[in-house]
Symmetry: C2
Subunit: 115 residues, 2 copies
DNA sequence: ACAAGATACCTCGCCTGTCAAGGTATTTTT
DNA sequence: AAAAATACCTTGACAGGCGAGGTATCTTGT
């Protein structure tokens, strides 16, 4: 939350696809997984998450189906497609490239407490 | 250009401030410096650049003055303020934090050709 | 028994940053 | 004389994030 979301933006889709690379999942769970992985430091806003799902499904990168026989509230599961896997790889490459570029551009030799 | 600008977004201000940490400069030159540093891979769109200057000046992070006695077209020089230097350090920290977070979230063990 | 919180989904409308497209003015190169 | 480079600026459209609101079910605390 403290961290500017404009820094995460552009990685939203990558993060979701990365999550779905491991297993089919649903919105609420994906968010909880992210929260766990970052020790509670990050979580998508719901509106952001569901907007992203819609965008990814329209792009053919994921498909969805309703989870059955679940005891709790109904869940819409998402599954990554072949196209989605390719996109994930592409996005990873984009990230690596731009990450290196950004580091080149923002470095002035100042020492910052890395974390 | 090839690289999604949503990945750069959020670092725009940091990049400009980093440039001004070294010396006073003006829009056109800052952009050319960025282009040189990235071997022509990146450059801000003019509209983006001038919007950022305005935002940074309104925030008190930079100040501007007209360059005199220059032979070519008139130049508006920008100078980073004390507040701007503090902001730069803060933004660097934000970047480091979110970079680590993103890497944690998008990694699935897939090997990508690093560049 | 009932309220509160957790689980789980969704939409509308605002805000912010990017950028295509347009414009101005001067100097240098062809 | 024309074209390209230097240098600035604004407008309006567009996309993504997200606050605020809504729905429905199940579990937990008192």
């Amino acid at each position: 939350m403290t961290i500017a979301s404009d820094l995460i933006r552009g990685n939203t889709d990558t993060i979701i696809l990365a999550s779905l690379m491991k297993k089919d999942s649903y919105g609420y769970e994906i968010n909880k997984d992210i929260s766990a992985k970052t020790a509670g430091e990050y979580e998508f806003k719901e509106a952001t998450l569901y907007t992203a799902f819609k965008r990814l499904e329209e792009g053919g990168f994921i498909t969805s189906y309703w989870g059955e026989d679940n005891v709790t509230a109904r869940r819409r599961y998402y599954s990554i497609t072949e196209r989605g896997k390719e996109e994930y790889i592409k996005l990873l490459n984009d990230w690596n490239k731009s990450k290196n570029m950004i580091e080149k551009l923002i470095d002035t030799g100042v020492i910052v407490n890395g974390e």
